[in-house]
Symmetry: C2
């Protein structure tokens, strides 16, 4: 027979999936001899059975509940609904993954007109008994019967006013009895029937309500945000009540065994005397720090400190504990691993190893890699004079400065021109994605911590301040007003996503320092991990930063950004627009020393470590003026000439625009993502790659002569067919060798390829014959495998796909294992078969995503490459992946 | 020891790869007892050895040549360079695949100052001897020594003029002797040394020249055009000369054993008395029809007819024969399978079966499926009054009418608007591809049969007339002049690609009728093939035509063309631009009866056969005005308002354009190919698919009530993830069932999916759970697998890729087996594993390409679907594939 209900002390294996986190912990504490009030747990399987039965408790489960209740009566020596020693219980939810505050709880269940009298008599404390009863009716009425909380508050206020009481503390036993009567009348009035008096009926209704609360809106949203599967279900814990509100020798509190913000050692928490748990949370009375307990109840304090220590040793982790003291007796109501900040997580993990509680591997698995990222966001330098204009919600951490723009198109366009922008909107919508992508940070006047801007910005790791009421935007005038300042489009503003501050101008930022524990943890990670970690870096500064963060080389050095620098664009344009071979060569000759300088700096910063340089990838039209703006200019000029037919200046301008437009049009593409770019460009215009290769090896030769060790690796983009790579490799080897010969130095010429279109992955066996390494460009590979244009998808339909759960994750953030991952696996296997020493890396954004890094470990890749700031994340994620799936 | 040289009568296995086509045939004829002058063959392996040795004949090969030469002297009883009976030889190329006229030939080799005298004496015909000698010096001088042909002609003309001869026939022995002397002086002058007199030296030089000619430019281009691998190499045949120019009892000719144009029975050919082979080709004298031989040389005629019959029976195919009569003795110099027209190929294949020469399977393999297409091109109806304006080269068959445009952009734009256009250009370049694609046909004033326009048009199967000198284009005025007519852009012209005619106006066309042999051959094909053949058809006419051509259903009925009909676009636009749900529903309600009518017609035309209907696929912006033109309009209006600020009409227009532009911009996509289309559209706007499904089943219900058997199958486009298909299938089933219930009829609801993005193929096992069929959309699948946007690739770089042989074929024409094919195979295997009865089809353009159909057979697909005109091609190709790789 399926067992649906377990007493805490009957559980043999505290299974979180079955018993929920709270139930499993209560069972485990009970078994370990901690002072836990007895109780029992209805399993998550019972939750499913409840839902399948159409939201009713099947009889077989009800029978087991009644049996468990009988045992609970035995264990406590009290009787549920009894007149002598009435047993009261709490009924609480407890899912396998903690969802604090999302589901419902009912305390003091079992009280009715008779048992409240018994409780008053047994405790000699009628005020306490009626206080419990009114609490129970109110919670039960709200949670189970669906009578809004405020209607009870209204009754309470009426009694208080009538009796002239200014606080709950001032209420007498008689006052509470009046409240109880009014509450009962309220319920009967609203329900058309009296408040259920039978404790067993109360229990059944409460259990059903908790099961139902799994699907309340709060819980559904919370699960969606935290990616908790809907299928888990919740357990229900029914536990004998203990009372912290039985006088000054009673109390209740919450405590962490260490500081959850900093990770510092020492119990950290607060408590209230003569109170029930909810009072601490409600914030009506100000709780005392836990240290005060040493004076108030010295014995209890000693016992509690000892229990904290035992709990930490038992669970081998920092605990978040709820406790109650009932007339001088200490009970633990709950314990769970404490939620903690990133800094605390790192410090605690390292400290616990040093204290011998856990080993290094456990420590490495304890820290969420994503959290490390938080520690690395640059902070605002507080020493400079800061002008704080306003404060909004701290929606996504990090500090950002940028020129203000008021719409997404401008953000994208300005960013394309190389400007740093801050997107300022009333609120954002999915149509703004391209602007958010392009912006340094986002500031909105409306919306909370879960608004579109906040969610998207956190997803992208962009700083964001939301709901800044002091911000008033005038979109027509392209200005806004904030904290008394008039801000125009193009003005500089800064935001601090960690505090919600909005600051005038551009502010200086500083790198967050690493704590010693941070360094220690990453050192341990490096000892364990098998995947190499490189960084994507296009300039010496990023390369140096990446190296400081522990990168073992550059996995992707894009060269297009070098072409897009404002002072180079005119040269690049003259190369593209060249009418003759000589003109083109002249432009390339101008670019050569600049490129050489770029590569010199990066190779120097990565001295001794490999630098994978991707030759030019984007289509040439990206370097030319926008087609649409030229069309508009042409149309305007043509119209102008209708009114001023003789204007020669206009005529000259028209000729010039027409010429440029013709060239731009000839390069225009319907689907540039799938167009004339990457090695396709080089097959038609080999001069560009020839110049780049020359620049790389000239830079390397200089460094060699300076006694350094440059290690360039040349990467060919967008290869889909072996013949492309064969030709490109021949080009690279020819030019490189001729430079090395000219310069009289020796250096191995290493050539590899991006794998970023499906065909490359599908024909990897052929391609491996010509490639010394594969670097999976998972951004483009995701686009082509899904047939998704990222720009269009994120602006048009991906949001709907994620909302409607058509896709479980954004495949541009988390690698799609079934599709893109399958191609990677096919290519890895085929490539290694042909060339066992083939180096395999990943250089899309997924290279910094822990779940995707886990996949890379399983797929057997050699390294991941990610943005410099994510290098520590990747180091830890790689270590965790190795611990989970390590190769022999 | 490797054997590099074979005498014709020593060959045991006539291997074309080794001996070349001509060598193998000469050996085979010799063995079969046909009267072939003796000789020997240097193998294609010798050609490779020659090239590897740096274009010289290795000694070991030279030794074998000299040995063979000695045997040849024995066989003929003549001596090479001998004074008594001098042996003369021809030296000819002969590749494994016939390349007529592309490589070099030298006749009469072995003549020198001594042997010419001996020949004159032995034959008693000095004129003949010196004629042979001067021919030899001229050919050898041209081919081996590189002295241009015209320099010899110049000398010849000088002698003719001096001697007062008006034709070669009039030349005397003495005249020829003078020519010989002048030729020898010319050679010595140009070479700095005398003409080689040693016959063995002559032979060595000639052999080397033929081997070298494998790489002459003509041959390289020919191989490229005909896709013959460069690696084959050529053999060299050295054969004892026989002379058709020894008097009136001698002659030479060429003949086909049947008419190569019509396939009719009866020997067909022509000959010249007293001539050498080259005279027939040169066209200096007009040859007589072969029948005349019956009178001229009755015995020879009888013998020749008998030999023709024997040759056909021996080779079991129609032969193309070269013969020579030397003083009453008949020799065969060459035989090969005759090249023939499509009509002849079909008739001959069927006739040979009926004559018992070959079986049906051989007949099916004898006809190139692509040729059938030629037979189906609609022809101009000659009964209507046609105004022929001019005649150009018949570059690509078929008749086309269209409105004249003079540039590719206009062609593409007008076609997008649903107009039929004829692209008229001086000549075309790769930049015009999008225009060629969009046009009905192409007409150029310059360029020959191998010009860009001709090659591309033939590749696309578009009618084309090239090099029409009578056409003069004035691009500025957007007019042209042709045959006295002034033609403006937008006027209608027609071309007949089979005859080169250019006609005024739109002309009526008619379907070519099928010959009885055509029907017979396809009936045999149907008995053999395993692949089903369906057609792509979007309207009842195409469906009916496809059915007449033997289609077994519609494999792809696109619904977007229905939306693009001129009278519907406004409704579709109002649907897209709808501000409210009600407005959108109103537009959809207007479309519903129209769509129902569409489906009614197609399902009726395919009564009893399945019709796979693809729900709407393209992005919505395709139905809206072009963004660029709106931008131009807006810019013009804004400028106009600067000059006329108060103009209210302009202001109103500006508001309207701005509104439309905003909507178009909001739908605009950077990469529409990878954008918001297919089922992605339906997930965000389900109403459109709901309307379409309703229309399909309402139409089906009508037909059912009329007693017919509609068999609609609903196909979901662009599925990449099982969740997409699951939702779409639920939508289709829900709407279909509700219509069927409303209408009170029953019909199975069949739902399947396109497989057109790699992810769908990679996750086919999942997708097969929800799909009753897969249809591989290989156009899009090729785009996404390669990461090629077809429009951009064909306009920008694919041409270079094919020219430089980066890719062996255009992957949009011939299915890429290694990449796209691998995905199809993966999906087929995975899909069938999950759902053994899964129907698998292909509906890209590859569905009509024989090589791709061969792949489909090997991959185990259920059917191919192609354009109606290609159905017969596909039927034959499928039969051939089954014969080659048939499943048990």
């Amino acid at each position: 027979m399926t067992r649906w209900v377990y007493l805490f002390d009957e559980v043999e294996r505290p299974d979180r999936q079955l018993l929920g986190g709270k139930g499993a912990n209560l069972a485990e504490m009970t078994r370990a001899g901690f002072p836990v009030p007895p109780g029992f747990t209805l399993t998550t399987a019972a939750c499913h059975a409840f839902q399948e039965a159409g939201e009713r408790i099947p009889d077989v489960i009800d029978d087991q509940v009644m049996t468990a209740l009988a045992r609970l009566e035995e264990r406590t020596g009290k009787v549920f609904g009894g007149m002598d020693q009435p047993l009261l219980v709490s009924v609480r939810s407890g899912a396998p993954i903690s969802m604090p505050g999302m589901m419902d709880t009912i305390l003091n269940l079992g009280l009715n007109a008779q048992t409240v009298v018994a409780l008053a008599e047994r405790t000699g404390n009628p005020r306490f008994a009626y206080d419990c009863y009114r609490r129970f009716i109110q919670m039960f009425g709200d949670v189970v019967l669906g009578i809004p909380h405020h209607e009870f508050e209204h009754e309470l206020e009426a009694v208080k006013t009538a009796a002239g009481r200014d606080s709950d503390q001032a209420m007498t036993a008689d006052d509470w009895q009046v409240v109880v009567e009014r509450y009962l009348r309220l319920v009967e009035r609203r329900l058309g029937q009296p408040f259920p008096q039978d404790p067993r009926t109360q229990l059944r209704l409460a259990i059903a309500a908790v099961f139902r609360s799994w699907n309340n809106q709060r819980a559904v949203v919370y699960r969606k945000v935290h990616k908790i599967p809907d299928s888990l279900g919740t357990a229900v814990n029914v536990q004998a009540m203990v009372f912290g509100n039985m006088g000054d020798d009673s109390g209740t509190g919450v405590a962490f065994t260490r500081n959850p913000s900093t990770g510092e050692r020492g119990v950290f928490g607060e408590y209230l005397t003569n109170a029930q748990g909810e009072d601490v949370v409600a914030g009506i009375r100000t709780p005392k720090p836990i240290a005060a307990l040493a004076t108030d109840m010295p014995a209890i304090y000693m016992q509690f400190m000892e229990l904290c220590d035992r709990l930490e040793r038992h669970y081998r982790d920092v605990q978040d504990i709820e406790f109650t003291v009932e007339q001088g007796r200490l009970f633990l109501l709950q314990t769970r691993s404490a939620k903690r900040t990133a800094a605390a997580a790192v410090k605690i993990a390292v400290d616990l190893v040093e204290e011998g509680l856990i080993d290094r591997e456990t420590a490495l698995l304890r820290v969420e890699p994503e959290q490390l990222h938080q520690l690395l966001h640059p902070r605002i330098r507080e020493d400079a004079g800061l002008e704080v204009l306003a404060k909004g919600l701290p929606a996504s951490p990090g500090a950002a400065s940028g020129q203000v723009v008021f719409d997404a198109d401008s953000a994208a366009e300005w960013a394309r021109q190389g400007r740093r922008v801050l997107l300022v909107r009333t609120e954002t919508t999915p149509e703004d994605i391209h602007g958010i992508l392009a912006a340094e940070g986002i500031l909105t006047s409306r919306g909370g911590m879960t608004s579109h801007a906040a969610v998207v910005a956190r997803g992208m790791g962009k700083p964001c301040v939301c709901g800044c009421d002091a911000l008033v935007i005038n979109p027509q005038a392209r200005t806004c007003r904030i904290g008394g300042r008039e801000v125009r489009e193009g003005d500089w503003l800064s935001i601090d996503g960690a505090t919600g501050r909005v600051l005038w101008g551009e502010v200086a930022r500083e790198q967050a320092g690493f704590s010693p524990e941070f360094e220690t943890l990453l050192r341990w990670a490096d000892e364990v991990r098998q995947l190499g970690v490189r960084a994507n870096a296009d300039n010496p500064e990023d390369a140096a930063r990446a190296r400081a963060f522990g990168a073992q080389g550059v996995g992707l050095c894009r060269t297009e950004h070098m072409f897009m620098a404002a002072d180079r664009v005119p040269i690049v344009q003259s190369m593209i627009l060249a009418q003759t071979e000589a003109e083109r060569q002249e432009a390339l000759a101008q670019l050569l020393p600049l490129q050489e300088g770029d590569f010199y700096g990066i190779l120097k910063a990565m001295n001794g470590l490999p630098v994978t340089i991707r030759l030019l990838d984007p289509p040439l039209h990206e370097f030319l003026p926008n087609l649409e703006s030229l069309v508009a200019r042409q149309a305007a000029l043509a119209t102008r000439l209708e009114y001023e037919p003789g204007n020669q200046a206009l005529q000259a301008e028209q000729r010039q625009v027409s010429e440029l437009l013709a060239k731009v049009r000839s390069l225009h593409e319907l689907n540039p993502m799938l167009g004339h770019r990457g090695c396709r460009l080089a097959l038609t215009f080999p001069e560009i790659y020839e110049m780049q290769v020359r620049a790389i090896y000239q830079a390397a030769a200089r460094l060699l002569r300076e006694g350094l060790q440059p290690r360039p690796e040349v990467m060919i983009p967008l290869v889909g067919h072996i013949a492309e790579l064969r030709r490109m490799r021949a080009l690279v080897e020819r030019v490189a060798q001729s430079v090395l010969d000219e310069q009289g130095v020796q250096l191995p010429v290493v050539v590899g390829t991006m794998i970023e279109v499906p065909r490359a992955a599908l024909t990897a066996a052929e391609i491996a014959e010509e490639a010394e390494f594969f670097s999976f460009g998972t951004n483009d590979l995701t686009q082509t495998t899904f047939g998704f244009s990222r720009d269009d998808a994120e602006g048009k339909f991906l949001h709907t796909y994620l909302e409607q759960k058509v896709l479980p994750d954004n495949p541009f953030a988390v690698l799609d294992e079934a599709g893109v991952g399958r191609l990677i696996t096919l290519a890895t296997e085929a490539g290694r078969r042909v060339r066992p020493e083939l180096k395999l890396g990943i250089c899309g954004e997924h290279g910094g995503d822990p779940a995707s890094i886990d996949f890379c470990q399983r797929a057997g890749l050699t390294y991941v490459s990610c943005s410099p700031f994510r290098v520590p994340v990747a180091r830890l994620a790689a270590a965790q992946a190795a611990l989970r799936h390590g190769r022999a």
